[in-house]
């Protein structure tokens, strides 16, 4: 059919509710059977995204969706600077995560030059008796590409990874995993002739010397753009305080100070304090977020980062903090 795309020179960014968009594409069999052409356009004058299906038998379906807002969150992450890179078919990773219970929130990925494993993660303090521990390990030979320079153990949210893997499995694409030490983001990405997709997840820094969880900085979430690590350090608190308020599922926004103040090195990482350590990432649960906040304050007391402005200034939920960090001094 004659569906000619009309391009304009302007780049348009907009956000649509998945709830409104998904039902239009839900019935794939009927789409394959009936739809000859689908045209998606954005009305410049009004806030509409127009999705038109030109179907057989002279039937046209037009859906006008209002978009929510025109701002988009930018994820900035330089995967080429990561020390560890793995490549595996999506199926391999999918088969591994399948074994974790559905309610499992976070998992720990552990990589050494000789071994790769995934195990479930539970915050300390949870009842150890009721838990089922699961650990799966793979030999490096099972990967298409396995490059681990630095032993690393990273903990991140499983839910986002599951979603990503089920998408990549359906396309039978190999998944690239870029990661570093705990606290730095991990990136899962795929590429195809038609598209590229990536999910950048924050990882937990866990200090085994103290029981509390150290905070880390920026939350980034899924776009297909990478940013220089250097840029990560430069964001102002105030600006991202706003962005941070946008919570997407279990992710949490935060920023770090521009000053590269060293945070004490953690026992499990072998990396020295790089400047970019000031950029740390945290997994996304509101509980952890408030813990982060508290922990920064305690650093304040310890004179480590005397001039560090508070991260997540918008999230001072004191009650919650008291509950999770009873020993920390109040703000």
């Amino acid at each position: 059919m004659g569906c000619v795309p009309k391009q304009s020179s302007k780049t348009v960014k907009c956000k649509l509710l998945m709830k409104s968009l998904l039902p239009l594409f839900r019935c794939l069999t009927s789409i394959e059977r009936n739809v000859e052409c689908c045209q998606i356009s954005v009305s410049a004058s009004s806030d509409w995204v127009i999705i038109q299906f030109f179907c057989r038998h002279g039937i046209t379906k037009t859906h006008n969706l209002r978009f929510q807002e025109k701002e988009a969150l930018q994820a900035e992450f330089a995967s080429h600077l990561c020390t560890n890179v793995l490549k595996a078919p999506a199926r391999l990773l999918g088969d591994m995560v399948m074994h974790f219970p559905v309610f499992q929130e976070e998992i720990t990925l552990s990589a050494t030059p000789l071994r790769f494993s995934l195990r479930n993660y539970e915050e300390s303090g949870e009842s150890q008796v009721k838990m089922m521990y699961t650990e799966m390990s793979l030999h490096p030979e099972e990967f298409e590409y396995f490059h681990v320079d630095v032993n690393s153990e990273i903990t991140f949210c499983l839910k986002e990874l599951r979603g990503f893997l089920s998408f990549t499995e359906s396309h039978c694409l190999p998944v690239l995993v870029h990661f570093d030490s705990a606290g730095k983001p991990v990136c899962f990405s795929v590429e195809d002739t038609l598209f590229e997709a990536s999910v950048v997840l924050a990882t937990l820094i866990e200090s085994k010397s103290t029981d509390s969880i150290q905070p880390v900085g920026i939350q980034v979430h899924a776009t297909s753009r990478y940013v220089d690590a250097a840029a990560l350090r430069v964001h102002a608190c105030e600006g991202h305080g706003e962005t941070g308020r946008e919570r997407i599922t279990s992710s949490q926004g935060s920023t770090v100070s521009p000053q590269p103040d060293p945070i004490p090195p953690l026992p499990q990482t072998q990396q020295a304090n790089k400047e970019s350590i000031s950029v740390n990432t945290s997994p996304a649960s509101s509980m952890v977020c408030t813990l982060l906040f508290k922990a920064l304050s305690s650093e304040h007391d310890d004179n480590v980062c005397a001039a560090t402005p508070p991260v997540l200034a918008g999230y001072s939920d004191e009650e919650m903090m008291e509950e999770f960090c009873p020993k920390s001094p109040s703000l």
Binding site: H57, G58, T62, H63, N64, L65
Partner: protein
């Protein structure tokens, strides 16, 4: 298969006797109009008409012609009663609702007249069940005065094309807007939901469009909740005729083929939504 369990006396007292070798030829079509508990049955020499109404805005009629029945005896010109349709359907399906290949339930429906219950004799595999369902004073069905002379727009579509549209309709929309016009968009179904609006356009040249007779551009809105019951009728049918008259009243007529390939009709009348029409969003 004639049921021999009745006495000859009873036969003479019945004002209506209707028999079907396959009760499904009645129950399937009645399922499509069971959106209310009560229905008015009207028997005339032409056959049986079952009417269900809702809120004075919607009327559904099922027509089962005399020819469909293996026996249809009427001692009066018009026999009418009101009955609980849900109970009637339960009785018709008393041997189990699922169709088992090779078996069917035979039905003999008998009515002695005003004040008497409706008696159903149902037989399957040699087992006979007798059901007596109380009848009520029939309410006068509404007369929408929808006549062909007032029809402004009429289309006949193959049901296949509408089935998909109806299954995809945005249910967050309170109304379904129908636009019929001799010019573009010809025949359009529109919804106005929480996230935006949607339009389904059927071209007059579409091979799904069997008949297209539109004299003027008309746009009317109908409550979505009223239109829902008709989706069952749509699912059963092979063709549907959509007509509007000068008052915006909507008439849908569905052509249904039963198990034996015979034709029955289902008809729905809708009153347009009385709210002030908003500016149409394009």
């Amino acid at each position: 298969m004639p049921l021999s369990t009745q006495s000859q006396d009873d036969e003479e007292h019945y004002v209506l006797v209707a028999s079907l070798d396959n009760a499904r030829n009645l129950s399937n079509i009645l399922k499509a109009i069971t959106f209310k508990d009560h229905a008015v049955f009207t028997a005339t020499p032409n056959g049986l008409k079952v009417t269900v109404e809702d809120s004075k805005c919607l009327q559904a009629n099922a027509f089962i012609q005399t020819e469909i029945f293996q026996e249809f005896t009427l001692k009066e010109d018009l026999v009418t009663f009101q009955i609980n349709l849900t109970v009637l359907l339960d009785c018709l399906n008393i041997f189990g609702g699922n169709a088992v290949a090779g078996t069917s339930t035979a039905l003999r429906m008998c009515y002695k007249g005003y004040g008497y219950p409706l008696t159903l004799f149902l037989e399957e595999g040699g087992v006979v069940t007798v059901c007596k369902i109380n009848t009520q004073e029939p309410e006068e069905p509404m007369d929408f005065e929808f006549c062909s002379t007032n029809v402004t727009n009429k289309v006949i579509l193959q049901s296949e094309s509408l089935k998909e549209a109806f299954s995809e309709l945005d249910m967050t929309s309170d109304v379904l807007q129908i636009t019929m016009s001799p010019s573009q968009p010809y025949f359009r179904l529109s919804t106005f939901g929480n996230s935006g609006n949607a339009h389904y356009d059927y071209s007059k040249d579409s091979d799904m469009m069997e008949l297209f007779q539109c004299t003027m551009t008309q746009t009317n809105r109908y409550k979505m909740s009223l239109l829902k019951p008709s989706t069952k009728a749509l699912a059963l049918s092979c063709k549907v005729s959509v007509r509007t008259d000068n008052r915006g009243l909507l008439s849908q007529q569905y052509l249904v083929r039963n198990d034996d390939g015979q034709i029955c009709f289902l008809e729905f009348y809708y009153c347009p939504d009385e709210e002030v029409e908003e500016e149409e969003e394009e």
